[in-house]
């Protein structure tokens, strides 16, 4: 077996750890929004750059304008956390957090960044805690783009083989939802596999 190969067990572990991490993040956002969030089953895929573009096209559909926040993280494992909201969801978030009916663009952007910060730090921190490792976070950036431009040239250069972990954050009562993608770089796939193997060894010991 190649060192970067993932078995069904590896994927199952990663999916379950993501589920636990997402549960923590949903609870934090539920406190912020004072609403109940519906949890969704995380999806995992291992692919190349073309596969990533197809995956994101399928996941996002044909909606025109998205607020996209990207945050890099690094350490034993590294990658990129991407949170995508439609402009309608983002406006609803800005509306709720700023308690105004017509939030301006700066308010919406600020609200999206705040939400993403909570999501990324909670999810990645919990994921790495379960894998008994640590990561550093870099400053996030948000921009408004169309779905098919989500993956830029920078990502194309940085990623070859990619693990995509994706799920949905959904607060129906506030009409706020978003898609979460975590992209893991080539060397991270090997490290992740080693960390998951350690976890499985402990379990079977």
């Amino acid at each position: 077996m190649q060192t970067d190969e993932f078995t069904g067990d590896h994927l199952d572990v990663l999916k379950e750890l993501m589920n636990i991490a997402m549960g923590n993040a949903t609870a934090s956002i539920a406190d912020l929004l004072q609403a109940f969030g519906t949890m969704h089953i995380p999806h995992l895929a291992i692919t190349d750059m073309d596969g990533l573009k197809n995956y994101i096209d399928d996941a996002l559909g044909s909606y025109e304008r998205y607020y996209v926040t990207k945050q890099l993280f690094g350490g034993i494992i590294g990658g990129e956390f991407i949170f995508v909201m439609t402009d309608e969801s983002a406006a609803n978030l800005g509306n709720y957090l700023y308690d105004v009916s017509q939030p301006n663009d700066a308010d919406i952007m600020d609200a999206v960044i705040e939400l993403t910060n909570i999501l990324s730090s909670t999810i990645i921190s919990r994921l790495t805690e379960e894998l008994k490792t640590k990561v550093q976070f870099f400053a996030p950036s948000t921009e408004i783009i169309s779905g098919n431009l989500l993956i830029g040239d920078e990502e194309t250069l940085n990623y070859h083989k990619i693990i995509i972990v994706s799920t949905v954050m959904e607060f129906q009562s506030h009409k706020i939802s978003g898609q979460i993608f975590i992209l893991a770089r080539d060397e991270t796939i090997v490290r992740l596999r080693e960390l998951i193997d350690q976890k499985l060894e402990e379990l079977y010991a």
């Binding site: 379950e16 997402m22 549960g23």
Partner: protein, 151 residues
Amino acid sequence: MKALKLFYCKYSRSLLPLICYNIITSIREGHNVKILVVDDSKLARLTLIKTLKEYEPSAEIYEAENGEIAVELFKSENPRVVFLDLTMPVMDGYEALKLIMEMDPCAQVVVVSADIQAQAQEQVLALGAKLMVPKPINSDKMLVVLQQLVF
């Protein structure tokens, strides 16, 4: 020595001929209690079963990977305890819990979920779950759970 007692079930409003004992004691005395573990993740099931076996090595464990299979197994095996995840494909834990409680209002269902929202807990307790425990489960949490599964 265990005492045979008639157990009054407040939901069915009838006296049921249940043996009254707590699960830990019954295992220590050599009874194989049937326990159903429901989770779509193999890791989650393995983790739960491993911690469960620390306290109840001879328990007869049944596994289900979604709510639909869980309901069928509950119907056929009538387990004493069900450990139930919420976020699952095919049939989620909320629906499975509702069906299980309809089949047996005295069923002991312990929800083990990553969803740690207060409203999720309120919802499952309202549906009839006995307890809700946040994932991942460990030995300490399992002991607390088992100590509360007393008839």
